[in-house]
C-alpha cells in the first residue's frame, strides 16, 4: 500500500501530510511533482493544503491545469481514492471532480482555528472508522472556505449522501453559530457520487496525534487504510 502526495508550487501542507501518513499511520508515502504526466503504484492520492500558484485568478484554478491533474482525473475515474484537503479540495472542485465550489469566507477574514465537524456518512472509504453523528476536532485555516453550489446540486448531494462532514458545535448541532465561513448547509466536506473522491476544508493531518489536540484526524487516514486493506483482500480472493 502506498500514498502519493502531490506537490504544486505553493503547496504548504505537503510535509504535514507526509508526516501524518508515513510516520503516524506508518504507510509508505512518496511525492508526486505537479509536472508529472503519469504515476503508478499508488493506492491513494492526497492533494494537500496551501496556496497553489498564489491562488491567482481563483483558488485552485491554475493548479487544475497542472500536468499531473490529467493523471489524477484518470486515476479517480478508474475508482482510485483521492483526498483533497483545504486547497486540495478547492483544486478538486475546479477540476470538476467534485461539485460546487469554494468562495471567500462570509466574514471576509482568513480563519485559523480549532473547529468541530460532524460525520454525516460513515459509509465511505474515508470515514469507515467514524460513527455517524460523531463530532471530530480538526483545525481549519482558510480564506476561501465557504462552500457554494446551487439548490439542485445540494439536493442531489443530500439524496446521494455525498455530504460527509458538517461544521457543528460540541453537541453535534449544525447551527449558524457553528458555521465558521458561511458554507451552505454548514458543509465542511463532500465526496463525489461514486464515493472515491473526498474534499474537505478542515485539516485532519494537523490533528494527527494526541499532542496536537485529540488525534481525531487519524480516523480519516486509518479509514482509508482499512478500506484499502479490505479491497486488497477482496481482490486476492
Amino acid at each position: 500500500m502506498k500514498f502519493g502526495i502531490v506537490q504544486f508550487p505553493g503547496s504548504n501542507c505537503d510535509f504535514d501530510c507526509y508526516y501524518a501518513i508515513q510516520n503516524v499511520i506508518k504507510i509508505p508515502s512518496a511525492w508526486i511533482w505537479h509536472k508529472q504526466n503519469e504515476f503508478s503504484d499508488f493506492d491513494c492520492i492526497v492533494l494537500p493544503g496551501g496556496f497553489t500558484y498564489g491562488d491567482y485568478l481563483r483558488v485552485g484554478a491554475i493548479a487544475r491545469y497542472s500536468p499531473v491533474m490529467k493523471a489524477i482525473i484518470n486515476f479517480a475515474r478508474k475508482g482510485g481514492l483521492v483526498i483533497g484537503i483545504c486547497n486540495g479540495f478547492q483544486v478538486l472542485t475546479e477540476a470538476r471532480l467534485l461539485p460546487g465550489t469554494l468562495i471567500r469566507n462570509e466574514c471576509l477574514h482568513f480563519i485559523c482555528k480549532k473547529q468541530l465537524i460532524r460525520v454525516e456518512n460513515k459509509h465511505t472509504p474515508f470515514t469507515g472508522m467514524c460513527q455517524k453523528g460523531q463530532v471530530l476536532q480538526m483545525p481549519i485555516a482558510h480564506g476561501e472556505g465557504c462552500y457554494y453550489a446551487d439548490k439542485e446540486i445540494i439536493n442531489e448531494m443530500e439524496k446521494n449522501n455525498q455530504i460527509i462532514f458538517r461544521y457543528s458545535d460540541v453537541n453535534g448541532q449544525t447551527s449558524k453559530e457553528a458555521n465558521p465561513n458561511g458554507s451552505i448547509s454548514n458543509i465542511a466536506g463532500i465526496c463525489n457520487k461514486k464515493g472515491n473522491v473526498l474534499g474537505l476544508m478542515p485539516h485532519p493531518e494537523r490533528n494527527i496525534e494526541d499532542c496536537l489536540g485529540s488525534g481525531d484526524g487519524k480516523l480519516i487516514f486509518e479509514s482509508i487504510v482499512m478500506y484499502l486493506k479490505k479491497e486488497k483482500i477482496l481482490q486476492n480472493n
Binding site: 481563483r58 491545469y65 465550489t101 468562495i103 469566507n105 462570509e106
Partner: protein, 82 residues
Amino acid sequence: MWSVRIDIKLKKGVLDAQGKATHNALYSLGFSDIRDVRIGKLIEIQLEGNSREEVSKTVQDMCQKLLANPVIEDYSYKIEEQ
C-alpha cells in the same frame, strides 16, 4: 491584432462578501443611497486571429475552461480590432 475586454461577474444569488464589505464602507463614508455593490474581475487580452468570429470562439473557450467558473460566475466580453 485584437483586443478583448472580458468582464467576469458573480452570478445573482451568490454571496459577494467583498461587495458587501465595500457597500458597508461606502455607507460609512456617507454614500447612503447605495442599494447594492457587486465586485467582479476585468481581464484584458491581446491576441492574434483571422476574424472576429474566430477570436470570439477562442475567447469563449478560454472563459469556459479557465477564466470563469460557471458554478458561480457569468462572463461577457467585447472585441476590438487594433
